[in-house]
């Protein structure tokens, strides 16, 4: 290693401190070769790009460090170079980061950013070694390399394992032993189906000594219809699905047929590229089917602001912005949202490119008007006669609208093609009435028509009559339409809307000078030539062979479900500020394989489940706790609490309450009194369902966006697209699973099942324990439970009234033949078992 330190101190101006001791020390610990992508760029991005990055408007001193040409060029008008390859002592960047002078040091004190000694050392070494520049890792197409060579060739079961083991061996770690069969089948059942295994299934697996035993379980779970329900939940979080609009009166919408399509898509293993194209642009496919159009409801799942006083165009624009950003997060793993208001500060995405992307989604006929949960464009899925009735009423509306138009041509004379609001006769109008005239009569909502009518009631009774008739017809039509099953979907305007850059992201501040046309960001592969450049082209581009991001981003998100974290921890950000992949070659290998398999999701999930990496025990040793608390290197399986929806499904399943029925209208299970009333000032009352509807999978619970289902915790709020798993631990969770009637009813029904199935204490306890944890209790554990059982018997025997209460919780019928004391004792025990850490954690 050349000691440039000494070189630097001889004969150069600006000779500052040289390499300080602590930097020198850090330098010694660096790897032999410093890598630009993995060591250098993250530093430049996080500490420098804010002022020296892609955003021209924020750029200081004309210096940019985010581009190869720029970083080696001289600083404008000066003979100073930020970086001179091989010569840190000639590189101004190095002088600045080592400087003691607060006026010179970089980053500046005002920025509140700083570099560690490690980071300074890295930059020095990088320059010494030639200052190699590379394209950001995620923007180059993934490459499928040969699997790594490993020492312990007996361990890997598939390609995943070679990569994982290679890393472990380099860290001198060994994989954990394989988990036992009970643990494995339990883990698989939750991971793939969101439900625990039954004792029969466990028995079949433990007794199957064939080589294929494990694979049989995996295949069975992949083929079960519960698979689609489980993975639908995850996708609904990404899709920000809810059953209401989310603002003011929170009107209900009927998007559940789309949710059913999602379940079906997963169960039929619809190839992920087709899954993508259908949802983003199904309506633009040649001869789209009803399914194609239904799938596009994906991008109408956002909130809808119909608040009184809001400006419709603002609502419309907010919705388009949401579609852009959701698409960006779910497929590209890019934080497009940063470029709404200015050039991205870190990734090479300009604001103009943001609006080029926006142009694709700016062509829907949705106008931002209206208030209810069925804003056009909609797909009416009712029976034909119901659709016809609405169509008839709509025809009547059009007829009246024509009359109004004719009247307005006289009343509000204006130039051809302009709306009535442009007429000089419209100048005296007030407020909403004036707004109403900016829309064609047929497009005015009944609220707008009402306001318009009020204004003219006395001033022009004839005109008022026409307006009022139209309003009445519109209301009638809307009321009738509200009874139909109308799903909000995407469409494309015949005459495209013009897109402009919205300055500061403001809907009312377009940069009128330059119309923006659809395109994809320059740092990603271009669109193919000779195609119609529309939303369909965009969707196909997202899943094209050349696209470096989609496959990686998708594989990564599914990996998270099995391991608690993605290979890239920032599931939503694969840009330069995102985390680096812990296993870059593995991620790439899986991404390419996913594409080559025809975007076969079940095959991907099977590969993960079949790996030795997946099958490891999740036991944590002290060494692992110290060396790898987040389980980045996968020397064990990740132990993580189940999502709260799975915990509810489990309780229902184990007790026998769960009703196996796929799809359909959302249901209203138990909820504490007054929740909706409180949130809506009494305007909306929660009307709980009865019977089977109480015991459906949590997926079907009606989701009111302003006040989500109360039995959930650590869940996405469904306000916006969410791709990260959340996992915290608070006493409120404990209260939920201990005291929510869902759980206390399940506990007593479980008790019925236990008492009826077996006759003596031992058998009953073992049976209950096995249902709850998928294993048999040890003798210690059994003793604890037996003692508790006896204690409870005594207590309930002394107070039969309490026994009666606890065994009649919930609406499910009570088995009156059972001895109340026994019943009560087992009810409490069941609740105990359903609350064990082991029961609610995926081990």
């Amino acid at each position: 290693m050349i000691c440039w330190y000494s070189l630097m101190c001889f004969g150069l101006t600006n000779c500052g401190t040289g390499m300080p001791d602590e930097v020198q020390l850090a330098y010694q610990d660096l790897p032999d070769k410093v890598d630009f992508n993995f060591h250098v760029r993250p530093i430049l991005s996080d500490r420098c790009f804010a002022c020296h990055g892609p955003d021209e408007n924020a750029r200081e001193s004309g210096l940019r460090l985010d581009q190869e040409e720029a970083i080696f060029a001289n600083i404008p008008d000066q003979e100073i170079f930020a970086v001179v390859a091989d010569h840190p002592e000639k590189s101004e960047l190095i002088h600045r980061i080592l400087s003691d002078d607060p006026k010179l040091v970089m980053p500046t004190p005002e920025s509140n950013l700083s570099l560690t000694t490690e980071e300074k050392a890295i930059l020095i070494k990088w320059i010494e070694q030639g200052a190699e520049w590379k394209n950001h890792w995620a923007f180059d197409a993934p490459v499928k390399v040969e699997v790594s060579e490993v020492k312990d060739t007996g361990w890997p079961r598939n390609e995943i394992d070679y990569f994982v083991l290679d890393k472990l061996e380099s860290l001198e770690l060994t994989p954990s032993e394989e988990a036992d069969k009970e643990t494995l089948i339990r883990r698989l059942s939750f991971d793939l189906n969101g439900l625990p295994p039954t004792p029969e299934e466990i028995k079949a697996f433990t007794e199957d000594t064939s080589d294929k035993a494990y694979e049989k379980v995996v295949d069975r779970l992949l083929a079960s219809t519960a698979y689609g329900e489980r993975w639908a939940w995850e996708w609904l979080d990404v899709a920000r699905y809810a059953d209401t609009n989310g603002f003011q009166g929170d009107p209900t919408r009927k998007m559940w047929p789309w949710r059913d399509w999602v379940i079906q898509a997963f169960n039929e293993n619809l190839p992920y590229d087709e899954f993508t194209v259908m949802q983003l642009a199904g309506d633009l496919k040649p001869s789209p089917t009803t399914e194609d159009i239904l799938a596009t409801a994906f991008n109408r799942n956002h909130t809808y602001n119909g608040e009184g006083g809001r400006i419709p165009e603002e609502t419309r624009v907010e919705n388009v912005l949401d579609r852009v950003e959701t698409t960006g997060t779910a497929w590209l793993g890019l934080t497009l949202n940063c470029a709404r208001c200015h050039d991205h500060k870190y990734d090479a995405l300009t604001q103009k490119e943001y609006y080029q992307f926006y142009d694709y989604f700016n062509q829907t006929s949705e106008e931002g008007l209206g208030y209810n949960g069925m804003i056009a464009p909609v797909l009416d899925m009712s029976p034909v006669e119901d659709q016809r009735e609405v169509a008839e009423l709509q025809k009547f509306v059009y007829a009246l609208a024509e009359k109004v138009e004719t009247a307005e041509l006289e009343k509000f004379p204006r130039e051809d093609g302009l709306p009535a609001s442009e007429s000089s006769a419209a100048e005296g109008l007030e407020g909403v009435a004036s707004y109403a005239l900016t829309y064609e009569p047929a497009d005015r909502t009944s609220y707008f028509l009402g306001q318009l009518g009020n204004f003219f009631k006395d001033k022009d009774p004839a005109y008022f009559g026409l307006i009022n008739e139209l309003r009445a017809a519109k209301s009638r039509r809307d009321r009738r339409a509200a009874e139909n099953l109308q799903v909000m979907v995407m469409d494309e305007l015949k005459y495209p809307r013009k897109t402009y850059v919205l300055q500061k992201g403001s809907y009312d501040n377009p940069q009128m000078g330059e119309q923006i046309l659809s395109n994809v960001p320059a740092f990603l592969p271009p669109l193919p030539g000779n195609i119609e450049n529309n939303r369909l082209a965009l969707a196909q581009w997202l899943v094209s062979d050349e696209q470096p991001l989609t496959a990686r981003v998708t594989v990564n998100r599914y990996w998270q479900a099995f391991f608690g974290n993605g290979l890239v921890k920032t599931i939503e950000d694969f840009g330069v500020q995102g985390a680096l992949p812990t296993h870059p070659e593995l991620l790439d290998w899986l991404a390419v394989d996913f594409q080559e398999s025809g975007w076969n999701l079940k095959a991907l999930l099977k590969k993960i489940a079949m790996s030795a990496t997946y099958r490891q025990s999740s036991k944590v040793t002290n060494e692992l706790l110290e060396v790898d608390p987040e389980n980045k290197y996968l020397a064990r399986a990740t132990r993580m609490r189940l999502p709260s929806w799975m915990i509810r499904d489990q309780a229902l399943y184990v007790s026998g309450l769960l009703v196996d029925s796929i799809g359909g209208q959302p249901v209203k299970p138990y909820q504490p009194e007054g929740i909706w009333e409180e949130a809506t000032f009494g305007k909306i009352k929660y009307e709980q369902d009865h019977g089977d509807a109480l015991y459906r999978r949590s997926l079907y619970t009606f989701w009111r966006r302003i006040s989500g289902p109360t039995f959930l915790f650590d869940n996405s709020s469904r306000q916006v697209c969410n791709v990260k798993m959340l996992n915290t631990n608070t006493p409120l969770h404990a209260l939920t699973t201990l005291n929510d009637i869902t759980y206390t009813e399940a506990a007593r029904v479980m008790a019925e099942k236990v008492i009826t199935a077996k006759t003596d204490d031992n058998d009953r306890l073992v049976y209950a324990f096995e249902w709850a944890t998928s294993r048999r209790p040890s003798s210690n554990e059994l003793t604890i439970l037996k003692n508790r059982l006896n204690d409870l018997r005594t207590e309930f025997a002394e107070d039969k009234a309490e026994a009666r209460k606890i065994t009649s919780i919930g609406e499910y019928r009570v088995n009156q033949e059972l001895d109340k004391v026994e019943y009560a004792a087992y009810a409490v025990l069941s609740s105990l078992l359903l609350n064990l850490d082991e029961t609610i954690t995926r081990q």
């Binding site: 790594s148 809001r310 631990n729 608070t730 209460k805």
Partner: protein, 495 residues
Amino acid sequence: MIEKERMHPFEEYQARITRRGFFGKMAQGIGVAALGSMMNPIPSLGSTTSVTAPLGNSLGLPHFVPKAKRVIYLFQNGAPSHVDLFDYKPTLRKWHGKQIPDSLTEGKRFSTMTGKQTARPVIAEISNFKQRGQSGAWVSDFMPETAKIADELCFIKSMHTESVNHAPAITFFLTGSEQPGRPTIGSWLTYGLGSTAKDLPDFVAMTSRDKEASCGQIFYDYYWGSGFLPTKFQGVKFRGGGDPVLYLKNPEGMSRPMRRKMLDDMRALNEINLQEYGDPEISTRITQYEMSYKMQMSVPDLTDFSDEPQHILNMYGPDVHRKGSFAFNCLMARRLAERDVRFIQCMHAGWDQHKNLNYQLKIQCQDTDAPSAALVKDLKQRGMLEDTLVIWGGEFGRTPFLQGNIEDTRNWGRDHHPYAFTLWMAGAGVKPGISYGATDEFGFNVAEKPVHVHDFQATVMHLLGIDHEQFTFKHQGRRYRLTDVHGHVVKNILT
């Protein structure tokens, strides 16, 4: 011996870090705390929080000695009318009925309710103003109790914002952005400063509304949400009816001693599992279940006012016994503050007088005046005002001109007005008995010493010992903070 290919550089580098013990270099030891619930707070290499503060916790907070230990935010949802309550403008009476000067309204954004309204007559205050106390603060007769404690209060008369509608405006006050998705002030503070309350959540939200339910504003749970911070920092909504905290009560038939024994057994079984699996998260869960048990006592204890002397109850007014009323929530706020809950957010709706200014505003004030004043007095008497920050205000003001038809005197209203409004603060670190900033003669625009929402947020942070520019959370590659990229501490209102 297999000749190993050169290791991927990242792996090599990481190997050196891990071998040396990841934790030696980190300010925060991990220990028993949450394996599974580990989230972002571990500062990345090259921390952006100041680590020089000797007071600092693992996030380096607080940055300096705080004046306030806790905050009670009395949020007046719907936007109280500043010109009728606190901002006395004699010009309004002189101009009553006359069109407000165009120069004021030209080019300004209004909500669609008055956006295209061309007739905009000025409407004088419907109340009567007097100067109060030694400070001479102007308070109208609609708020007699507040008037009596004017010398305790710091009125900021020059507040301003950009939003013209409720949800975005409230979200802006509480999160620093008009669109939901970011953490609220309470979440930032509990995340940053840590837990102080024993057996209670650190961030509690309570809502109430006028009995008349005069307007449509509703409370979204993201008003006390944690945004992109870990969900444990979410505000816990104490409900107006039934159990304050959901699922607090044991099921019928399960006594407290029975629950105790059940938890003991669960603990024993969980400990067996802990031994086998070694996952520290199991330990955390045992603790959380214990906490839930404690909360079953601490929360009902909180809501049981039988230990309050009658004269205190009287101070809060007759509504104090009605669960879910503003008065009830104010007394709860004091009791929560006594138990060291860090951030208490009481939101009261019903101020949105678009059409019913003449009769509804007075009623609204009757509901809120005494309890708000009582809270301040109560805290002061207990010596708690000196380290509690109390805030009172809405999301914007109301137009000095009329919404509606001046002939229709029963339905006068004022529309949303972002350009100027009043907010008051009292307690820890805030100068009592002053009015800061001023509006023009119409109460329309700020004339002196503007205080933007971000400035207000920066100031609140400051009172809690935090430099708002240095307290950030990295999410999606960006270091977010409550004040976005704006905000200046309003130094002249600080003691």
